[in-house]
């Protein structure tokens, strides 16, 4: 690995993944900035105001991409969990952990933006609408996963436990969606005047939503990569410390 710049010599001695990502991250950051500015412009200047809901509806262009990212991140946690249990490579655990943490940020944003939108439209910050409830359960599942990581930090098997919980929770999500939907259709709340149905009749609305979705997805990729690279370095450091302790012990034999 002599070709690598000296600053990343240690991390490169076995796997180049962490520094490669660290180099990629700034570019993703730049892309995020550009795309975010573009979507801000589109949301506030380009897209026409929705007829029924008025200006508030514009939060929708941030709300929906966040929701997509939150669900996708959770899928990533589960996929990383499957690979970790299958292959046992620490890289998958780092990926799952990073995805859960980044996903939690977006899941929280979904709840906040949804709440901001619901107050003027539905007249309440919070309703037990099926989609809000599902997202809230998702948030609780993320919370459980992160609490496990925090509380089991000193257990050597924490990665395995995280993988198991990530898989089980993600596969639970479809059942949550179905049950919550049935729950709310059977007892329709008075507040819910229209079941979602955001008519995106104007093509500019669709374009804005698409750009915002790409922007948030790239932002997620950026945050994920930063955290992932950091966790990779942490794992690498643990490995090196272990090797060092081993070498010191061997040196003590002589």
């Amino acid at each position: 690995m002599a070709a690598e710049p000296s600053s990343s010599n240690i991390a490169d001695s076995t796997g180049a993944s962490a520094p490669a990502m660290a180099r990629l991250a700034p570019w993703l950051g730049v892309a995020t900035l550009a795309l975010m500015l573009a979507s801000l412009f589109m949301v506030f200047e380009y897209v026409p105001t929705e007829a029924q809901e008025g200006i508030v509806q514009r939060i929708f262009y941030f709300h929906v991409p966040c929701a997509w990212v939150a669900f996708a991140a959770f899928g990533l946690v589960a996929i990383a969990g499957v690979f970790y249990l299958w292959l046992g490579d620490q890289i998958w655990d780092d990926l799952g952990y990073a995805a859960a943490e980044s996903g939690m940020v977006f899941c929280t944003l979904v709840l906040i933006t949804g709440s901001l939108w619901a107050k003027p439209i539905w007249g309440a910050w919070w309703t037990w609408d099926s989609r809000i409830t599902t997202t809230f359960i998702l948030w609780l599942l993320y919370g459980g996963y992160l609490m496990l990581r925090a509380m089991a930090d000193d257990t050597p098997e924490v990665a395995r436990f995280g993988a198991v919980v990530g898989i089980v929770a993600a596969l639970d999500v479809p059942v949550v969606i179905v049950s919550v939907r049935l729950w709310r259709t059977i007892h329709p709340a008075v507040l819910v005047t229209r079941q979602g149905g955001h008519g995106l009749e104007d093509p500019r609305m669709i374009a804005t939503l698409l750009v915002a979705t790409v922007a948030f997805t790239v932002m997620f990729a950026w945050l994920l990569m930063l955290r992932f690279a950091q966790l990779r370095l942490r794992s690498r450091m643990k490995e090196l410390r272990r090797a060092l302790a081993l070498a010191e012990a061997s040196a003590g034999d002589l």
């Binding site: 050597p156 410390r241 272990r242 302790a245 081993l246 012990a249 061997s250 003590g252 034999d253 002589l254």
Partner: protein, 231 residues
């Protein structure tokens, strides 16, 4: 003549967190032979036995048991491993007989009353066979655990301090049982704090010192090793 070893480790290392517990251990165990791993507290003996039994995974290196990787042992292989740990692995609210019966059933070995009685008799617990293990002394538990480990008709027997807490009678009984297992062709590995002598049994002794396996008697070559017997 060199038989295929029952257990073989290649450059086995194990760390807990950053602390190295075993370093570069190369060990072979053969059928019908007994090995003693000698070392002080915390030397890594128990960890080594647990890895050989497939209970713990090595941090580096490879372990083969009956020719299979220790991390993915087949049912057939697991059936042939008996282990005595420092924990008794007995249910305190079951009687001695029920514990024996339970493990015999799990391992698919004869668990008729006569078969269980024979084991209880061999470890001198027949008189208290129907008392709960909760009421047992540490030595009685150790006797029952020995029976539990051996009743599976093992071809690999891993004994972590088999003589701990035993009275002289019990030590004689345990040595007899171990000898019988070796004679029926079982590979035995046991741990001890010092040199052991078992009547009529040739033991291969090696030392585990600070995570390394060295021939017995040579562990002090490194100088510093000796100075930390009770770590």
């Amino acid at each position: 003549m060199m038989a295929t070893p029952v257990v073989e480790t290649h450059a086995l290392s194990k760390s807990f967190g950053e602390t190295p517990v075993l370093r570069d251990v190369n060990l072979k165990l053969f059928a019908g032979r007994a090995a003693v791993l000698i070392g002080g507290n915390g030397a890594g003996k128990s960890t080594l036995l647990r890895i050989l039994g497939g209970l713990s995974r090595p941090s580096a290196g490879r372990v083969t048991v009956f020719g299979e990787d220790s991390l993915s042992l087949s049912h057939q292989s697991r059936r042939r491993i008996g282990m005595l740990s420092h924990q008794s692995w007995l249910y305190p609210n079951l009687t001695a007989r029920e514990n024996i019966e339970f493990y015999a059933t799990l391992y698919g070995v004869p668990h008729s009353q006569a078969a269980c009685d024979r084991w209880l008799d061999q470890v001198g617990l027949l008189a208290v066979a129907d008392e709960r293990v909760r009421s047992f002394s540490r030595g009685m538990e150790q006797r029952l655990s020995l029976a539990r480990a051996m009743l599976v008709e093992p071809m690999l027997l891993l004994l972590d301090e088999p003589f701990a807490a035993l009275d002289p009678d019990g030590v004689a009984m345990a040595s007899g049982l171990i000898r019988a297992q070796v004679e029926r062709g079982c590979a035995v590995a046991m741990t001890a704090h010092g040199a052991l002598q078992l009547d009529g049994l040739e033991l291969e002794a090696c030392s585990v010192a600070r995570g390394r396996l060295v021939p017995y008697g040579e562990e002090s070559r490194g100088g510093r090793v000796r100075s930390m017997p009770g770590r």
